[in-house]
Symmetry: C2
Subunit: 769 residues, 2 copies
Amino acid sequence: MRRKVTLLYFLFVLSACTDKTNQNTKMVNTPEELETAIKKAQAGDNIVMANGIWKDLQIKFIGEGTEDNPIVIKAETPGKVIIEGVSDLKLGGKYLVVKGLHFRNGYSPSDAVLEFRIDEKTIGNHCTVTNCVIEDFNKMQRDDTDLWVQFWGRHNTLSNSYIAGKTNRGPTIRVDLEGNESINNHHQIIKNHFGPRPPKGGASAETIQIGNSYTSMSPSYTKVANNLFEACNGEVEIISSKANFNEFRNNVFYKSEGSLVTRHGNYCTIDGNYFIGDGKNENIGGIRIINTGHWVTNNYFYNIKGKNFRSALAVMNGIPKSPLNRYNQVTDVVVAYNTYINCDSPFQFGVGQNLNQQDVLPPSEIRSARPIRTIIANNVIYNEKGDASPIVEHDKADGVSFKSNAINNQGLDFKANDGLEAINFDIKEIEEYIYIPSSKLDIEPYQGFEFENISTDLVGNPRAHNNSIGAFTYTDFKDPNIMDRSQYGPSWYMAETAVQEPKTEIVEKAENLQTKIDEAENGDIISLEAGNYDIPHSLIINKKLTIQSSDKSKVILNYSGVENSPLFQLQPKGFLNLKNIDLKGSNSQFAFASLKKNMYTHFGLTVSNCDISNFKYVLKVYKESFAERITFVNTSISNCENGLELSEETNDKGDYNTEYLTIDHCRFHNVKSNVIDYYRGGYDESTIGGNLLVTNSTFTNCGSEKRNGILINSHGIVNVDISKNTFNNNPVKLVALLWGAKNNTHGNNEFNNSGEIRVEENLEMKLMY
Amino acid sequence: MRRKVTLLYFLFVLSACTDKTNQNTKMVNTPEELETAIKKAQAGDNIVMANGIWKDLQIKFIGEGTEDNPIVIKAETPGKVIIEGVSDLKLGGKYLVVKGLHFRNGYSPSDAVLEFRIDEKTIGNHCTVTNCVIEDFNKMQRDDTDLWVQFWGRHNTLSNSYIAGKTNRGPTIRVDLEGNESINNHHQIIKNHFGPRPPKGGASAETIQIGNSYTSMSPSYTKVANNLFEACNGEVEIISSKANFNEFRNNVFYKSEGSLVTRHGNYCTIDGNYFIGDGKNENIGGIRIINTGHWVTNNYFYNIKGKNFRSALAVMNGIPKSPLNRYNQVTDVVVAYNTYINCDSPFQFGVGQNLNQQDVLPPSEIRSARPIRTIIANNVIYNEKGDASPIVEHDKADGVSFKSNAINNQGLDFKANDGLEAINFDIKEIEEYIYIPSSKLDIEPYQGFEFENISTDLVGNPRAHNNSIGAFTYTDFKDPNIMDRSQYGPSWYMAETAVQEPKTEIVEKAENLQTKIDEAENGDIISLEAGNYDIPHSLIINKKLTIQSSDKSKVILNYSGVENSPLFQLQPKGFLNLKNIDLKGSNSQFAFASLKKNMYTHFGLTVSNCDISNFKYVLKVYKESFAERITFVNTSISNCENGLELSEETNDKGDYNTEYLTIDHCRFHNVKSNVIDYYRGGYDESTIGGNLLVTNSTFTNCGSEKRNGILINSHGIVNVDISKNTFNNNPVKLVALLWGAKNNTHGNNEFNNSGEIRVEENLEMKLMY
C-alpha cells in the first residue's frame, strides 16, 4: 500500500511539472507583436492581447499545442479587446484556443470572420474559440457573401460566444466537409447565444449550416447543443443540416422565424430542444424533416403557429430519384416523445407536395414521394383551444405509423387517426413557456425498434423506471430555466442594453436640420415647427429617428437638391419614422432612397400622414438594400413620375428588397410610370416572402406611362393582399397580376375604368437550383 | 494466489455447466418433425436433419438462441442432406445456425432461396448459415427474379458455402437495408466459394449486391472477406456496393468477367484483394469507382486486360447533381499501395464520360463531373511489354493527384505524368499468378492524410518498419496460396468434378436417335452413319452432346414434324454441337428452337459444315432463353422463310438472348424475311453485350420479304463486326444499321446490288432508369 501511495505522489509531481513545462505568458500590444508571439509560441504558451481597440487585424493563428498544453490567445480582460475594421481570424494547427475577443464595427476581408483553417494545407484541429462576440460584422453589400464562423478540420469548438446582426448573404456559421480532413469532424457548437439575425429577404441566411448538398453523403457528427437562438429570422432555415449523423440537443429556439431543417444528409438526432413561439407569428416554426433516419425525440414546442413548411413538425414529400441538391424522400424517421402545447396543426405530412405544378415545373421538381417507414409515437399534444386538424396531410400519410400519441383537444372533434387518442388531462406551468401534464397520462408508450435508446427525457430524467409519453417523464422536476441567458454566450457580455428614453429636439430652421439629425441619439425625435423648409441637400439618415411636425402644425419640406438625389437618404441602420410632414420636389429628385452601394445593413421607413408630391421617385430602393419594413399610412402621393420602386433584385436568386411593404389608407394620384413595383425572382419553394399589403387606398389617374400595363407589380412576391381599394381612371390593362399558387389574395376592390386584377395559378419563374 | 485459482476453477465449472444447460439434440426425418423441433427449440438445442433427399421443403427457422447457446439446424452428415424441388429456408429470431445443407435441382417458391427474415416483423439477427451449397437452383424463367441469399437484420453471416450456377434475373446475394432494423448491419460474407455464374445477357446478375440506390445513404458495414469468386460472369458488376462503409478484404477474383463496383454509397474499404485475369479476356475487370470517400489499398491485379468500364482501376465521371439512382461524382477517393502486373492501361479516369451524347440523352444522363480530391499514390505497375498509356483520361484527370507511383514500362515512353515515375526493377514469382518486385523500390512512399491507417500490406506485414510502395512491403514472405480452394466453401464439397472421357455411340436408324440421345451422358458423341434419316418428331436436347456424321459421310435429316415444331428442341442445359449433317424441312418447321417457356438455365448451339434448307426458321430463340454462344461455321442456309431469330427480348430492360452470335464462312441463300435478327433494347451504359460476328460469309437473294428493309438486324447490340462478307442481289435498303457510339465495326465487305451498311453514331434507345 505504501508503495502505491509513493508512486501516485511521484506521478502527481511529475504531471504538475509537465503542466508547467513551456508555460509562458506573453503580453502583446500591436499586430506585429501578436504575429511574432504566434510564430514563437509553443505548446502551453499564453498570448495575451492588451485591452483596447485593434483595427484592421488579420490574425493567422498557426501553432501546435497539445491536449494538455494548448496554445492560447486571450484578451487581457475578456471583452475589452475590441477588433474593428477589416479584420479576421484564422486558425491552423492543433490545440489552439482563442478567448474573450469582441469583433464589431468592421468586416472580414476574406470569406469568413473566423475560420478554422489558414488554407487548404493548414487546417485547424482540436481548436476552440470561446467567450467571444461577433456583431454587425457585415460586408458592405448584401450580395458580398461571407461566413462569420467557418469550420474545417475536426474536433473544433465554438462555445459561449454571442453572435448577432448578420444581414449579408451567407450562413452565420457553416461547417464545411470538403475533403477527408473535415469529415467525421465531431465539432461542437455549444452554449452560444445566437442573437437577432434579421430577415435577409432571400435565401442563404441560415444561422447554422452544416455541409452542403455536394458533401451531404459525408459523416459529419457535428454537435449543436445548449445554445440559445433568439430572433434568428434570416430565412426559413435557422439550422440547415446537410450532412450525416449530426446532433442537435437541448437548444432553445426562442421566437425565431424559421425551422431546424434536415435539408440534406441523414441519421441526425434532434433531441431535447425547446421551440418557443409567441402564439401569433406564423413565421416561427419547428422542425422540418427531409431524408432518411432522423430521430426527433424529447422536444418541446410551445405556441408554434407556423404552417406548412414552418409547422411544428413538417415532414416533407420528396422528389422520386431526387437530384443530389433537391428533395430526397423521407424514410425511416422516428418522431417520439415530443410535447406540443398550443401549436396549430403540429403534425404536417407531405409538406411541399406540388403535383398541381406539373405543368410549369420539370419532373425533377415535383415532390410526389411520400414519407415511408416513418413512426410518430408517444407524443403529447395539448390545445387550449381545440384544433380541428392536429394532423394535416398535404399528401396521404400512408407511409407513416402513428402509435400511442395523445391529444387534449378540449373535446373538439378532429380527423380521426388510429394512433392519436383524445384524452383529458390538465397542464401546469413549470416556468415561463414550459407547461407539462399535471399527472402521468394513462397511455402505454409504444416500444419501437431501438426505442430503448431514448433512455432519458428532455430534462435528463431516466425513462427506465417511470416511462410515459411526451417529452417529460415525471410531473415534478427542477425548472430547466431555459431563458436564463447567463447560461449562453460570453460571461462578460449582456446582449440586452437598457432602453434609453428618447430625447425630443425642436428644429425651426432648415439649416439646422442635418446638424440636429447628426447630433441625435438612436431613437430620438426631431420635431419641426410649422413652416416651409427649403432643403438643398439630401438629409442623411443613419440611425433610428422620428421626424415629425410639432403638434400637427403644417410643415413642408421643399427639396431643391440635384437631379436623382433623395430628400432623405436612408443609410445602413437608418430607420426613419416620418410623421405629419409634407414633402415637395421639383420633379427630378427622389423623396426617399437607399444608398446605391454599401448598404451593409438594413434600413427602415415608416411614413404617416404626409403629402408627397412632385418627385421623380417617391421611394427608390437600390439593389442589395433591404428594409424589414416599409410602411406608408394615411399618406398622399401625387404628381410623381414614379411611386415606390423596389425592383432591382433581378438576379432571380430569390432576393427582394423588403420583407413587408405596407400601404394603408393612402391616396395615389397622377403617378405616371411605376406606381408600386416590388420584385422577387427565382423559383424557390422554401422562400416565403416578401409581403405586400395594399389596403383601403385609392389610385386615381395613375399608370398612364406604365410600360407593361400593370399598375401594381408584385412579380414573385409570395404574400400579397390587395383589398378594399378604389381604382379610378387608371389607364392600365391590369391593376395587378397575382400568383394563385402562392398566398396572393384580393377582394372588395372597386374598379372604375381601371383594368382588373388577374390571378394566374402558376407563374413561370426561373429555376434557382 | 490460491484463492484466485479456486475462484477460476469454480467459474470454469460454472461455465461448463451453463454450456450444457438446454443442450438437446433432436434428430428429425420429416418436414413435420423438423417443424415441430423448430417450434420446441430452445437456446442451445441442436436439430439434426437425417441424411437423404428432402423434397419441396420450406423451412421457417424461428427461434431465440443466445451468443453462447445458439439454436442449430445441421445435416446428419454435412453435404448428405440434399434439398430439392420447391424449397427455401428463412431465418427469424436470433443466434440461429444452419450447417451442411445442399440445395440443388429445384428452385425457391419465394423471392429468395435463403433469407434472413421470415417477414417484416420477424427478422434474423446474429444468424449464421455455413458449410452449405446452393447450385443451379434457378427459377423456371429468366425473368422470374429472385435472390439466392437475402440478408436482412444485423450481424448475420454466410460462410464457407459454395454457390454457383444462377442464370435467372437477380443478384445471387443481396443485402437489403430498408428499415432501421437492417442498417449498421455488420453482416459477414466470408470464406465462401462463388463458383461460375454464366453471363445472363442483361442486367441484374451481380454475384453480390449490397443495398440499392434508394437506401444508398444508409450505413451498412457489410464485410465481404476471404471469398473466392471464380468465373462470376453474370454481368459487368461482380460486386455492386450500394451502401456506406462496406469492407471488401482479401477476396480473390479469379477470371471473373466483371468488376468490384462502388455503384452507390460511400466510404467503402477495398483492401488486399486479388484480381486475376487470363491476359486475354477483356471482360475480366478490376475495381470501378463511383461516389465519395472510398479507400482502395493493398490490392493486387494480374493480367487484367479489361478496358474502360472494366479496366483494373476505372474511376468514373459523375452526373452533376446526379439523380439518386444515377452516377454521383467521385470525390475524396484514395487509391494507394496497389500493384498492377501486366495490366493494360490500368488507371482510367473519367470513365463513362459521354459529352458527345448530349444530343440523344437528357442532361440528367450526361456524365461530365470529373473526379475531384482524389489521390493515386504509392502504386506499382509492371509491364512485361511496355504500355503506351498506363493512364487513360477519358476526361481530364485534373482533380486527381498522382504521388509516388512507379512503373516499369520496359523503357517504352508513355504520356508523362508527374506522379508516375518510370523506374527499372525486376519481378519474381511467389506462386502462380503472384509476382512481386525482386527488391525494394527506391521511391519514398507519399504520406497522405490518414495514410498511417494503411498499417499493413496485402499479406498482413506491418508497414511501420519497412514501408515501400506497392501491395507488398517485403520482398520475401510466405505464399498467400490464394488458389488453394480448400480455404473457401464447404469442407465437404469439391466444385471440380473429374472430367469423364466422352463415349461415342453409333446410330444407324432414325428411330434409335432419340433413344440414344436420352441414354447419352453429358459430353458424349453420337455418330450417324451415312444415309437419309426421317425424323417425325422433335429431337430433345437437354445435355451436352455432339451429333455428327461418322467419317464425314453424307447424312441428311429430313424433318417431317408438325408445323412450328423444331427438329432440335434445345432445352435447359442442352448444348448441341452439330457437325457434318444436313437438315431439311418441309418449309413449315424450325431447324432449332429453344423452349417457349421454362428455359430455367442456358442452352448452347454450334453448327458446322451443315446444309440447312426448307425451314420456316433455322433458329428460333424464344423470350427468356439464353445461350452463352451460338455459332454457325461453314454452313449453308438456303430456301428458308427466316434465318436466325433472337429478337424477342423487347421489354427493353437490356436483356438479349445470346452473348456471342458468330457466323463465319457461311452461305445464306434465298432466306426471305428475317435473315439474322439479334435484339437488345434499353439504354444501359454499363451493359457491354451482346456480340455479333458475321465474317467471310455470303448472302445471296435474301431479305426479299424483310419488312424493315434491313438484312442483318443488330439493334442495340453493343459489339458488332460485319466484315469480309459478300452481299449479292439482296433486295434490301440496308445490309445493316450499326451503332457508331458503341463497338460496331464493318469492313472489307462486297456489295452487289444489295443496299449498304449505314452507321449512326447515336441510336435512340429507351432509357432504362
